[in-house]
Amino acid sequence: MSELSTLARPYAEAVFKIAVESKSTSDWSETLEFLSAVMQDKEMTAIVANPKVSQEQLTTLILDICQEQLNEQGVNFVKLLVQNDRLILAPQISELFEAYKAEHEGYIDVEITSAFALTKDEQKKFATTLKKQLGKDVLITTSIDNALIGGFIAKAGDKVIDGSVKGQLQQLAKKL
């Protein structure tokens, strides 16, 4: 996993620079997301890994699948990936691209997992407090996990703020 993202970094950086220059970050973001979705398909990964499928065949196949999703630069990008045998990195490139984009636009993705669904009000409160904590605008995505019993876990990149009952019980267990 870590090695893949190391390999994906130069591609993501290059794409991001082009995107910023041509002011089309959101277009590129969609393109990369689509490409990564394609590459995560089981049949697709099998085809990519199959040595019998030639580079030309692969290029045509992917361009056919993507068709309208790709602009001229996008087509070139896919060709480059096929040529360098790095198609498999598409999900990592997309992920890194999003990270660069978030950093560039000055917000951070925060994933909040809670035991019960959050109301709009609560989400707003989270947004303001987390903004203070992290010093950046936050983009909140939420999910529900009953195993937390109560409270929430907020994840922003590597940082985790654990305010769940489960986490507190674990802390207590350690103390005893």
Binding site: S2, S5, D158, K159, I161, D162, Q168, Q171, K174, L176
Partner: protein
């Protein structure tokens, strides 16, 4: 200890009541790969070099390789239950071990957990495993002796408090024996001992503990064990843990003696870790910083001055200096001291005690090679009596070595050469000493005086040791006051000199050996 159930539930109740419900913020990562005790973790962007990382089920690892996308972690202890995808938390702490008086008399592992079955260790103090050595201003020169209790070493290769003296030799040459004798001899001197066993068999450690117990020497000793069956990471950090435990005594104005048995195995453990972490191998496949692992460790053995002790104890201890003396042990292969690790450690330490298998096999035990062994700073710390008498012994042996090759032509040699050879043979014989029988300053003084004054010259070489033993027991029973005086003052005044001289003369008249 008997505990009734209500007490336990009370205890738990109290803990729960005092439990502070807080929101915990930390940095997290995920396990990517596990190979031979090395775990690669993705994420953990804020991990520090050497930080403790928490894995599931209360297991810990130490972050060693910080890379852009991943962190290389060595596991401290078992890691079989960890699987790919597990979460890893930063603790924000550098590895720490418990320190304090309560550790004396105990056997602990590299992390300070007791392994002698005597229950928990009653100490709350901890200290980081890796510390920077005291600075130049904090130090004081070495001027007090550590008596190892061995004639050959204390007279010719003296060790001072705060010195680093290497014990080097092949396998089976009595390196550990010297260390153990040194520990036994610190009984009643106030010097605390720490014995760090690295990569040794558990059975030999058990033997050593038993021997120390037999000689009443365990009470002032901490034994830190990273046996051969423990992970490379634990073997690597064991000396640093032991050193932190020793520094506790040094920093409060006491004297401590630490023995690293042996640093060769620690270097091996570090080499294993480094290769698995894919660090580039250098000479003998050791990584580039193998010199630094030993130099930073041995630099922590030092003598600190009164002002520093006062500062460290916040004014509680005044007018006392503290010291940590180190006796690192290095095992050579086939007497090769020019291998990588031996040369490194020789250059770091303040001298070495060189043991040879040839000497050992020819019955000279301790098998100290007096020519190659040196002590660069110990001379300033030697007791006066040993210093005065030891010089003669050193000279006798040096002259003997030069002439020893001619010894077989004894009959054809001139008078003075023959005399020198004979003196040398007797002094060599006198330098032999049994294991577990360290000698006091006075006992040594008497033996050395007997050699210097020529009392041994008329004896048969084979009789020298019997003569010495009988002389010692005579001195003990008949001249106890004189012996006590020498032990107390350490002086070699005319009065003491005359006292010893006349005592030996009287003893010889009894011909009781």
């Amino acid at each position: 200890m008997q505990l009734n159930p209500s007490e336990i539930s009370d205890l738990i109740k109290k803990k729960i009541e005092n439990f502070d419900v807080s929101v915990e913020a930390h940095t997290e990562g995920t396990v990517v790969s596990i190979t031979d005790g090395i775990i690669t973790v993705h994420g953990l962007s804020e991990a520090m070099q050497g930080e403790m990382l928490e894995f599931p089920d209360n297991t810990f690892g130490m972050a060693l390789n910080l890379e852009r996308d991943s962190v290389g972690v060595v596991m401290l202890g078992a890691y079989q239950h960890i699987t790919e995808g597990d979460t890893v938390k930063c603790t924000g702490k550098i590895l720490e071990v418990p320190v304090g008086e309560a550790l004396l008399g105990r056997v602990v592992d590299s992390l300070g957990n007791p392994i002698d079955g005597k229950g928990a260790i009653a100490t709350t103090e901890t200290a980081p495993v890796e510390k920077i050595a005291p600075g130049v201003i904090a130090r004081q020169s070495v001027d007090q002796p550590v008596q190892l209790g061995l004639k050959s070493i204390d007279s010719m290769i003296p060790v001072g408090r705060g010195q680093r003296e290497l014990i080097i030799g092949d396998r089976q040459t009595g390196k550990t024996a010297i260390a153990v004798d040194a520990i036994i001899n610190q009984k009643n001197t106030g010097v605390k001992c720490i014995y760090v066993a690295i990569g040794q068999k558990r059975s030999s450690i058990a033997n050593l503990v038993r021997k120390l117990e037999e000689h009443d020497a365990l009470a002032h000793t901490i034994i830190v064990v990273a046996s051969a069956s423990e992970s490379a990471a634990l073997q690597f950090i064991a000396p640093y843990s032991g050193c932190s435990m020793g520094e506790f005594f040094r920093d409060k104005g006491e004297d401590a003696l630490i023995i690293y048995d042996d640093l060769t195995k620690q270097a091996w453990a570090y080499r294993q870790m480094s290769l698995l972490l894919r660090r580039p191998p250098g000479r003998e496949a050791y990584p580039g910083d193998v010199f630094y692992i030993h130099s930073r460790l041995l630099e922590r053995a030092s003598r600190i001055n009164v002002a520093e002790v006062e500062k460290l104890t916040k004014g509680k201890v005044k007018g006392k200096t503290g010291s940590l003396t180190a006796l690192p042990i290095i095992e050579t292969q086939g007497g090769d001291v020019s291998a990588f690790v031996p040369t490194n450690v020789i250059s770091i330490t303040d001298g070495q005690i060189f043991l040879e298998s040839d000497l050992f096999n020819s019955g000279i035990r301790p098998a100290v090679n007096a020519g190659l062994s040196v002590s660069r700073v110990g001379g300033a710390a030697q007791t006066k009596i040993i210093k005065k008498l030891g010089g003669g012994i050193r000279l006798d042996l040096a002259q003997y070595r030069e002439l020893a090759a001619f010894a077989q032509f004894a009959s054809d040699l001139d008078e003075s050469t023959r005399k020198q050879i004979e003196r040398g043979q007797r002094v060599t014989e006198l330098m032999k000493q049994d294991q577990y029988s360290p000698m006091s300053v006075a006992e040594m003084g008497v033996s050395l005086h007997a050699a210097n004054a020529g009392f041994l010259d008329d004896l048969d070489v084979a009789k020298v040791r019997d003569f010495e033993a009988a002389l010692q027991s005579y001195m003990k029973s008949e001249e106890a006051d004189l012996m006590q005086k020498i032990n107390d003052t350490g002086d070699y005044s005319d009065e003491i000199k005359k006292g010893i001289q006349s005592a030996i003369e009287t003893f010889i008249k009894t011909s009781s050996w």
